[in-house]
Symmetry: C2
Subunit: 259 residues, 2 copies
């Protein structure tokens, strides 16, 4: 029987809020078994860029990562957010180790090819170094990933944290019974966007199609659910969607997705 | 017989200069055997602080690390400098992994007690987690340390990079035949400060006393040499002082210190 592994992704809104982050990290530190955390950096990078007078370039609502911006992201995600999370987890008796995709060659990627839009230093993931992660987990370490990959030629690349989480879960799924947790600002997939408690508790391939055709899953939830099913179709056992309370054993109100 | 280990410290002046950094990292990547790098961040932190309008507080020429400053240092040393070095070493076939003292609980410290001066969030090292470093080295990883330790209660602490290097070397000396390299802007200890080539090639306990009484070792060299002998008195085999070319096998002009 395979060992269990939890891959947890927290969004920028948690990172930005000191109290919410502390609540989350306490729950994460209590989560039993092997675990990996992936975090974004939220508005912190934009805030620092603004303070430094660096314009955030957006095309069609998507951020363009120029050389200055990748430096900002490296400082804020790879430095400030990552190291603070690691230090706080150490205080909660979790032996955390912070990683970018360059560290230990853990996430190899390539710069997104320029088609209609040049996204700049944005990485599309080629592979996850599951051998390294297995060694770290075996040494009782808990890897904490920021949203940076690298191209193997010396360049760090800004990479979507949701994608990093699903690719890590997929990469580990052959060795571990892997659950992927997407922790965000909602309690899960909602039947009624105006009702926080209208959580769809269970989704499978069939109900997914129904929710899609009924327009329940729309807008920002589309790529998130796409990531979930991509993971499930690549041997990840289960995906859970919910807010910071999801990791607490007592919490029942979140969405569980299985094939 | 013990395995050999090199602990190399590079100063801020190398970090700040892209070309010098590349030359150094090429030499470091070619250094045979097990190795650990420790880097400062030089003026990069002060530059960012200035851009953000944060005043650098100094008392008697020593930096005071308030909460804002430790955040800046975490961004610049722990984020930008550390991750860039790691990514560049990956491109040079060295499987680098970047660490602050919080990562893997690698360097435990306590906040310097307030006496006449309150240095703020500055750490004095209590212990180095040599067990973790041995595991990482055994996994063919090369640890890259920035100048941050932690107090185990969630606080990152600004810590002198020379001291981190000597304490790591001391911590590893019972398991490895350890050489400590201090790489700085001079070619070594100079007999005549005005003559770059007047390098004292070999120093031992006796010649150290002579150089001290003759005033050859003075000012900024005093704490550096103190660190060297502290390491040698605590089982480190050898300390080398020189510039970025020191790691090159062909270079003969640097200072070697043994008891």
């Amino acid at each position: 029987m395979k060992n269990k592994l939890s891959v947890v992704k927290i969004g920028g809104n948690v990172i930005e809020d000191e109290k919410a982050l502390d609540v989350f990290l306490t729950a994460f530190s209590k989560l039993e078994g092997l675990k990996i955390l992936v975090h974004g950096g939220g508005k912190l990078a934009t805030q620092l860029a603004t303070k430094l007078g660096i314009e955030s370039k957006m095309i069609d609502g998507r951020r363009i990562t120029d050389a200055e911006t990748v430096d900002i992201i490296t400082m804020v995600y790879g430095g400030l957010a990552n190291k603070k999370i690691v230090a706080q987890l150490q205080a909660k008796n979790t032996n955390a180790i912070g990683l970018s995709g360059a560290d230990g060659d853990s996430i190899q990627a390539h710069k997104r090819p320029v088609k209609e839009i040049d996204y700049g230093f944005v990485g599309d993931i080629d592979s996850v170094n599951s051998g390294l992660l297995t060694k770290l987990l075996s040494a009782d370490l808990t890897p904490i990933f920021c949203a940076l990959s690298h191209d193997g030629a010396g360049q760090l690349l800004n990479t979507n944290a949701d994608t990093i989480a699903s690719e890590i879960a997929i990469g580990m799924a052959s060795s571990y019974e892997t659950t992927l947790y997407y922790c965000f600002e909602k309690k899960g997939v909602l039947m009624d966007i105006a009702d926080e408690n209208s959580v769809v508790k269970h989704i499978d391939s069939d109900t997914y199609q129904e929710l899609l055709s009924d327009g329940i899953i729309a807008n920002g939830m589309l790529p998130k659910l796409h990531n979930c099913f991509h993971a499930l179709n690549n041997s990840v056992s289960k995906v859970c969607l919910g807010d910071v309370t999801m990791l607490d054993k007592e919490t029942e109100l979140f969405t569980t997705i299985k094939l």
